[in-house]
Each structure stands twice: as structure tokens, then as C-alpha cells.
């Protein structure tokens, strides 16, 4: 059996992103490097054949997803699995967790100037953040970090994909 087709079969059957190492479990002759190679080949094939889907990198894995131009058609299938957009408060809080992790609730509240207990609980329930450790010191507060699902939700490969501060458009940045 051709490696490319085995990789395709595994990706096709999966509802979540799979890392090359996970895909390689499909066959003893398959190495993660070969999986990467096969994915590249499949991507070019789908592109050439103008398929409605493509293989996208998400976190440390890959998943077959539909191409954006078909979103409007799929929206008609009002499915319960539809990912709900996060509130601005939630995204701001996530941004802080993503850059400052591991970070305590108090640090986030100081940065945002508002209480974030409810937002944190909500983000934790949605699996976008998790408690990664406890800080030393008074009360040993919980420290939060982002999860694999966080990367998936925003279509990021890794935390390196987050915008760098110097790339952001901050108005009237005065020199000092």
C-alpha cells in the first residue's frame, strides 16, 4: 500500500488534528518524516485537482478541512458542533494567557483592569486554557496556560505564530 494513501486514509477518518507521529502508527513501515512528505504530496494533489478540502496544519498536527470558499454552503447545515465565537473579553484574556503563560489570575486582572474569574472558568470549560502549575509563594495561586485546542481554535501552528508586538499597529507610538 502506498504511504501517501495510508496517510490520506488516516487523515480522512479523523475529526481532530493528528501529529505526524500519531499518523505513523498506522503502519510499521511509516516514519513521521515520511508522513510529512506524504502530506506535502497530498496537499499538492488536492490543489491540482481543486478539491473542496485541503490539509491544514493546526497545532502540532494536521487535519483535513474544507476550504474557506465553501463556508457559506456548509453554514446551511445548522449543526450543533458549530464553534461559537468568543467574546472580546475572552479573546483579550486568552491573548494575555498566550503571551504570559504560565500566568496567574491576579496578573491577568492587573493587565486588563477587570475581574476575570468568570472568563477564566469559561475558557477552561471550553478547553482553551488549563492549569499548568501552581506558583510558589503566598496562597500558591494557580497558573494558567493555553492548550492544543487553543491553537486549533485560532488556526495556529504554534505559539510562535502569535503576532509579535513590533508587528502590531499601535497608533501614535511616541518615542521616548
Amino acid at each position: 500500500m502506498k504511504a501517501t494513501r495510508i496517510v490520506e486514509a488516516v487523515l480522512f477518518a479523523s475529526e481532530t488534528p493528528l501529529a505526524p507521529a500519531e499518523i505513523a502508527r498506522a503502519s510499521s513501515d511509516l516514519t513521521p518524516a515520511q508522513v510529512e512528505e506524504a502530506i506535502g504530496e497530498l496537499c499538492r494533489e488536492y490543489e491540482r485537482e481543486e478539491r473542496a478540502f485541503q490539509i491544514y496544519p493546526l497545532g502540532d498536527g494536521y487535519q483535513i478541512l474544507t476550504r474557506p470558499e465553501y463556508a457559506t454552503y456548509l453554514e446551511r447545515f445548522d449543526s450543533i458542533t458549530r464553534t461559537q465565537r468568543l467574546s472580546r473579553a475572552a479573546v483579550e484574556t486568552l491573548a494575555i494567557v498566550a503571551y504570559r503563560q504560565p500566568v496567574s489570575r491576579l496578573e491577568i486582572e492587573e493587565l486588563r483592569g477587570v475581574n476575570v474569574a468568570g472568563v477564566l472558568r469559561n475558557l477552561q470549560e471550553r478547553g482553551l486554557i488549563e492549569v499548568v502549575e501552581r506558583a510558589e509563594g503566598l496562597g500558591r495561586p494557580l497558573l494558567y496556560g493555553t492548550t492544543r485546542r487553543f491553537l486549533d481554535h485560532f488556526g495556529l501552528r504554534s505559539l510562535e505564530d502569535l503576532p509579535r508586538p513590533e508587528d502590531l499597529q499601535i497608533t501614535l507610538r511616541a518615542e521616548r
Binding site: 447545515f77 449543526s79 493587565l111 486588563r112 483592569g113 502569535l162
Partner: protein, 248 residues
């Protein structure tokens, strides 16, 4: 709504619920007026901030209101410190605004990141994975709206068990009207939230009552005063009390 015009020279329409807290509001005031963030006219900004949050305790929960009020207090404190004469030789002393500026710039950075992430989220949402379109569950008959043509309905009503063959002695026939049945429906539905059609007409022996009762409930359903429900063809037809007819 929650819009407010700040009592200042500039007319700001500030909808406090729109802001993610005091830092967000303060940044809005500064950035929308092209103010140099390193030289904030603290008296002016404080006045605008306080005007914007006027009545905040009525519009937000106590906790969120507290966040805005705390910032107002900080601004007033900085304003007071700015008014104190600075002693000679202490020129290098820290500007009372510097801590606030540091917080604002830091917050602004994350606010920008949040905008970028928001765009990334929207872009990601355009891609759907396997399982997005779910298998359709079989329709629940109980939940199906009752949509029947009147002749189909009549057919069911008339298929009800025929009255016993024994005919009562002929008496002058009193005309039976739909209006009369409507009144009886109201009466029955006053006591119960729903009434099965069969039990409602059981007290009469002739078909004309069944037909009139049936037409009456169709009329009521048309006017939206009752709802009709039947679980399956030829099943029990339930007449439900409609909403908003308590005064009847």
C-alpha cells in the same frame, strides 16, 4: 440605551457597556482625541472619564462599576499629585502619570493582539472538519407542527365511532352553531391546559356536534387562541390553551 455624552468641550458618545473595563475606556478617550499618551492632560481626561461613567453603578453590576470607580479614584489622585508644586532639584522625580501610562501601553498591546486573534478565529471558522454536518436525527413526531388540510381533518373527525343505532325520539332540532362550540371550548380550556378532542365531544351523540366542535377548534386555532396537536395520524387530537387568552 447606555449612551452618554460626556460633559466636556468635545462631545463624546460613550457607551460604557461597550468597553472591556476602565483601561479600555481610558485608551478610547486618549486615542480618539489624538492625545500624546506620554503627556496626558490629566485634568481634562479625568473630567471626561468621570462624565462617561456617570451613573455606572446603575448600569453595570456592582463589581464592574467598582472597576471603573477605582480608575476614577486613581485619576483624581494623579491629578492632585500633578498640582503639587515640584521642588527644585527633584526634576528627575517620577511623573505621577508614568505608572498609568505603563499600564495603558501594556493593555493596549494585548488589546491589539486580541484584534489579530479575533481575525484569526474568524478565518479558522471558515474551515470545517469532518463531522461538522451531522447525521440528521429522525424527526420527532411530537414536535412536528400539525399541518393538515381541512378535508383531511374532517375525515378523521367523522371517522370517530358512530353513535349507537338507537335513535332518540325526534325533537325539534335546535340549531348548533360554531360560536356556541367556541364558548364551550373556552370553558373547557379554562379548567385544563389541554383537552382531547374525543372526550370533549363524547357528551353529544350526533355527528353535527362533532363537526361543529371541530370547526370551532379550527376557527380558534386560526385566530391563534388555541393550538392543535396530534401525535400521529388518527391519534388523539389535543387542543391546547393558547397563550395570552387569560382574560377570556
Amino acid at each position: 440605551m447606555g449612551s452618554r455624552v460626556a460633559e466636556s468641550d468635545d462631545h463624546f458618545v460613550v457607551d460604557i457597556e461597550r468597553f472591556q473595563g476602565p483601561l479600555d475606556l481610558l485608551l478610547h478617550l486618549i486615542r480618539s482625541q489624538d492625545i500624546d499618551i506620554f503627556d496626558i492632560p490629566i485634568a481634562e481626561i479625568t473630567a471626561q472619564f468621570i462624565a462617561a461613567i456617570e451613573g455606572v453603578e446603575r448600569r453595570l453590576t456592582l463589581e464592574h462599576a467598582g472597576e471603573f470607580l477605582e480608575m476614577a479614584a486613581t485619576l483624581v489622585r494623579i491629578k492632585a499629585q500633578m498640582l503639587l508644586p515640584r521642588r527644585e532639584g527633584l526634576l528627575e522625580a517620577e511623573d505621577p502619570r508614568s505608572e498609568l501610562v505603563r499600564r495603558l501601553l501594556e493593555y493596549e498591546l494585548f488589546r491589539e493582539v486580541a484584534y489579530v486573534l479575533g481575525d484569526a478565529e474568524a478565518e479558522r471558522a471558515l474551515h470545517r472538519g469532518k463531522g461538522y454536518v451531522e447525521p440528521r436525527p429522525p424527526a420527532d413526531l411530537m414536535e412536528l407542527p400539525l399541518e393538515l388540510a381541512i378535508d383531511e381533518f374532517l375525515e378523521v373527525a367523522l371517522a370517530l365511532p358512530a353513535p349507537p343505532a338507537k335513535r332518540p325520539a325526534r325533537a325539534p332540532v335546535r340549531p348548533i352553531t360554531v360560536d356556541e362550540k367556541i364558548e364551550l371550548w373556552f370553558k373547557a380550556l379554562k379548567q385544563k391546559a389541554r383537552v382531547p378532542f374525543g372526550s370533549f365531544i363524547r357528551r353529544w351523540k350526533t355527528r353535527v356536534h362533532a363537526v361543529m366542535s371541530f370547526l370551532a377548534c379550527l376557527e380558534l386555532a386560526k385566530r391563534g387562541l388555541v393550538r392543535l396537536r396530534q401525535e400521529r395520524p388518527f391519534g388523539t387530537l389535543w387542543i391546547y390553551r393558547g397563550e395570552g387568552d387569560e382574560d377570556r
